[in-house]
């Protein structure tokens, strides 16, 4: 709103002539050269890998492609990945909301330390993330003897895969929600509480609708990473076909077996997931922009 006012004023005071515009932009040749270099760079590094995934996946035709998904090992891998993501994502959503609420709405000692600790899993190598669970729950691990005595298997079994997935996707929801919750301020919640709403009512009716787009994007990103995690899961899985193989691990097995087309067929599933994630991101950014514009507009009205 201020920006539009500013351009208005600026427009009347100093209309930009062609010469002025030319003084702060590059010659057409330079411009197209820069665009060309950028597009070639993005093309080789981003579009080419995407293209080869789908090109190789359909190399032997649609029939073969579909047949890959009738293989019981592939289906077991898909089921396990859905299970791991189905547990990891909701848990991280609850944590993300709690963390964003506490950091975004309150001021307390140790706040920046908490933010740093939440970001920690981002800076840990996935392989190390898997290893720390092996050191805790593995045969030679700290809790290993106790777990064996009680007949509980975590490493080289499904619980380890779920734990590793939770670890690597830990910060996503909190990271996406936090800036949004912070930028909203506390006024609306205070108004709701003053008018007699309960804490949960305030959260579900006031806070959540305001941050829903950031939350959706956080969930989608968290889910994409949960379903695609490779390094951490590879360390704790034990690679038992049909039992502890997730989709990315199954891709590795097929690829190392020289079943390239089958590997790429399964990979195309995850590539589609990535494309969907990017699409949702674009939609969410557009919606958030709309919401922001609407808010600014109503601010102007209430202020004038």
């Amino acid at each position: 709103m201020a920006a539009s006012l500013q351009t208005q004023i600026r427009g009347t005071l100093a209309p930009r002539s062609g010469a002025a515009a030319r003084a702060i932009s590059e010659p057409t040749v330079v411009r197209w050269l820069l665009i060309g270099i950028a597009l070639v760079f993005l093309g080789t590094f981003l579009f080419l890998p995407l293209a080869i995934v789908f090109a190789t996946a359909f190399q032997k035709g649609v029939g073969f492609y579909l047949q890959v998904f009738r293989d019981p090992d592939t289906l077991a891998a898909i089921r396990l990945t859905l299970l791991a993501a189905g547990i990891a994502v909701p848990l991280n959503v609850v944590f993300g909301i709690a963390a964003a609420w506490v950091i975004g709405k309150f001021d307390f000692v140790g706040k920046s330390l908490l933010i740093t600790l939440i970001d920690l899993p981002f800076s840990v190598s996935p392989v190390v993330a898997g290893l720390i669970y092996v050191l805790l729950f593995g045969l030679q691990g700290l809790l290993g003897p106790w777990l064996i005595a009680h007949g509980i298997r975590i490493i080289f079994a499904v619980p380890g895969i779920v734990l590793a997935t939770i670890f690597v996707t830990f910060p996503f929801v909190a990271r996406e929600l936090l800036p949004m919750i912070q930028s909203q301020g506390n006024e609306e919640e205070e108004a709701a509480l003053t008018l007699g709403a309960s804490g949960w009512q305030t959260f579900f009716r006031v806070t959540l609708p305001n941050v829903k787009w950031a939350l959706i994007y956080g969930v989608i990103l968290c889910n994409a990473r949960a379903m695609g995690e490779f390094g951490a899961v590879s360390v704790v899985s034990g690679h038992i076909r049909g039992l502890t193989d997730t989709v990315p691990l199954h891709i590795e097995i097929l690829y190392n077996d020289y079943q390239f087309v089958a590997a790429f067929a399964v990979a195309s599933l995850l590539a589609l997931l990535a494309l969907m994630t990017l699409l949702v991101k674009s939609v969410v950014e557009w919606k958030a922009g709309q919401q922001f514009a609407a808010q600014s507009a109503s601010d102007t009205e209430s202020n004038s």
């Binding site: 709103m1 006012l5 500013q6 005071l13 003084a23 702060i24 932009s25 270099i37 950028a38 597009l39 760079f41 993005l42 080419l48 890998p49 080869i52 190789t56 848990l91 609850v94 944590f95 909301i97 709690a98 963390a99 609420w101 506490v102 709405k105 309150f106 307390f108 908490l114 740093t116 600790l117 800076s123 840990v124 190598s125 996935p126 392989v127 190390v128 290893l131 720390i132 092996v134 050191l135 805790l136 734990l163 670890f167 830990f170 506390n186 919640e189 509480l193 003053t194 305030t202 695609g228 490779f230 390094g231 990315p248 891709i251 590795e252 790429f264 590539a271 990535a274 494309l275 990017l278």
Partner: protein, 299 residues
């Protein structure tokens, strides 16, 4: 700050959210991480250094750090270029290119790994022409660098982009009025402004690349001493049931990534404080309007 103190007393849920958040953080992250450090403490210093400084480990650090540094540098140059093109110019398909920049964040690393390997393999789309001029990309250090460039690509673009978007044209107009050429304006006015953000992105890309595993192992060839990255060395030691060796190298990596967090945080703060300062200072007109706007937002 007064407002925050007042609000603290009204909004509910502080104890519950903080309690759950810290509990979950300890359970998933802090306790398992300290397990790794506990495990190393059973090693003597002599044993620890023997593993961490073994020739094979040193060779893997050289490759991991070297390839990460080159990859992050490529991304520094091309990231600024891509951000500039996306913010300043209009061309068909701009929105598509803009959203695809995030692909390395969204695409599972294993998929990226097999895709890059197939492209750069000796009979691949790019591998064949490269091999014809004597460059072997797949299964060499060059392949590792390519994979690490791929996974670090979005960082610099996404840190520089918002800074360029916020930049007022007046700065450049003033430079042009004072007789600066376009290149002078870029190197003397624009580059110093976007430098902190670009450096932040560079550091993030570097930190991410050091720990990367999935996208690298397919294209690396994984020859000990030559194309073996550090995370792979950890996995190899684990498969040989050498838990202490794996832990020692993992702890060395953890220390490096925690040490890297510090400059990244400082850079981020520098970059955001630069942005906060720049804005009101742009022009007298911007100076009078912008603070009014930001105050209105805070009411």
């Amino acid at each position: 700050m007064k407002i925050v103190l007042k609000q603290r007393s009204i909004l509910p849920g502080f104890g519950l959210s903080l309690g759950f958040g810290v509990f979950y953080l300890c359970l998933i992250v802090l306790i398992p991480l300290s397990a790794a450090f506990l495990k190393t403490s059973t090693l003597t210093w002599h044993q620890f250094w023997h593993v961490v400084l073994s020739p094979r480990a040193l060779a893997s650090y050289r490759l991991s750090f070297g390839a990460s540094l080159i990859g992050a540098s490529i991304n520094l140059v091309f990231g600024v270029l891509v951000a500039w093109v996306l913010v300043r110019y209009d061309f068909p398909g701009k929105r598509l290119f803009d959203s695809v920049v995030d692909l390395p964040f969204a695409l599972p690393t294993a998929v990226a790994g097999i895709a890059l390997t197939t492209i750069y393999a000796p009979n691949g789309w790019l591998g064949r022409p490269l091999a014809a001029i004597g460059i072997h990309a797949a299964y060499t250090a060059l392949g590792v660098t390519i994979a690490l460039t791929f996974i670090g690509l979005p960082f610099v673009v996404r840190t520089v982009q918002p800074v360029l978007e916020d930049l007022d044209k007046e700065l450049e107009e003033a430079a042009a009025c004072l007789g600066a050429g376009r290149w002078q304006t870029f190197s003397r006015v624009l580059l110093p402004t976007i430098f902190p953000a670009a450096l932040t992105g560079f550091a993030m890309a570097f930190a991410r690349a050091i720990g990367e595993y999935g996208s690298v192992i397919f294209i690396a060839g994984n020859m000990p001493m030559r194309t073996e990255i550090t995370p792979l060395l950890i996995i190899t030691k684990l498969q040989e049931y050498d838990y202490t060796g794996a832990t020692a190298i993992a702890v060395a990596m953890l220390v490096v990534s925690f040490v890297l967090l510090l400059p990244i945080n400082i850079l981020q703060r520098w970059s955001s404080s630069r942005r906060a300062q720049e804005a009101p200072r742009d022009t007298p007109l911007g100076g009078t309007l912008k603070p009014a706007y930001s105050q209105r937002g805070r009411q």
